[in-house]
Symmetry: C2
Subunit: 183 residues, 2 copies
Amino acid sequence: MKKFEEKTIHSNRLYEGKVINLKVDDVSLPNGHTSKRELVEHPGAVAIIAITPDNKIILVEQYRKALERSLVEIPAGKLEPGEAPETTAMRELEEETGYTAEKLVKLQTFATSPGFADEVVHLFVAEGLSKATNGAVLDDDEFVELMEVTLEEAERMVIDERIYDAKTAFAVLWAKQRLSIEN
Amino acid sequence: MKKFEEKTIHSNRLYEGKVINLKVDDVSLPNGHTSKRELVEHPGAVAIIAITPDNKIILVEQYRKALERSLVEIPAGKLEPGEAPETTAMRELEEETGYTAEKLVKLQTFATSPGFADEVVHLFVAEGLSKATNGAVLDDDEFVELMEVTLEEAERMVIDERIYDAKTAFAVLWAKQRLSIEN
């Protein structure tokens, strides 16, 4: 886990924002040379594989300013400070989709952009979905469109890049491979 | 693709680095409200699914300062300005692994952290691998360890998080599902 460790000589914090921070570290390499690393700090996020009672996967389309386009993704959201990932996942699922889950099973955690950011996504599988009485409860400033598609259709969307998000592409492949669903 | 577009009112570039830039944009939301978006610009990257003649997938372990740990990933690298992704992929494969490919087939492109960064990864499948005469040619300041494992072993590594990188997790699932390899 510490193989080829790059030790911090000096860390220069350049920006502390609402969501991300930026720092530039001077590091000492295994051969004694020094280098610079530009690093983004992010609180981490959750994402949820949610299959409806009629065996469709819930997808959410929203605008992603970083890419200047809308993306189709599985339901996801940032961790609040000190919040357990399960809690975030339960909340985001209900708020974004209007479904509640009996149970969330942790699938795995992975780093999304290890070359420059510490963001990790905790991936959950929602079990026992049912419609919440309230439906989706979005913030005033949140704009998303829900979709429910079969896993076969979701897989086609990965192949032809209508799904253009790495965590969602992983989630669809995983679900197609592991969940035995008859459509 | 432009659904729920957030139009830029003002863009404030806070940092221009060697690898990434940071800007904070004031945006106009679909309901006319305004908000701020903290955005990282990244040149994009390539990653390569490379299966050796004896049917093993090539993995590379290296230190990732952002996460303060080493990660096991498929061979990957940043795009140089103006460089075609295929060219980067061919170069990175040979430099990092010491293998050359007869052909690289584009699998797909995806965004890695759409919530705050524009990084995309262009994923390739290398066909017809053979050992380069020189072996791996690493920069003086590059420290990586090569691994060759079966797809079954790689899949176990995803499940138990020894593979903790999203693009690699996707690549392993894809390869396990699509490449008919007898081990």
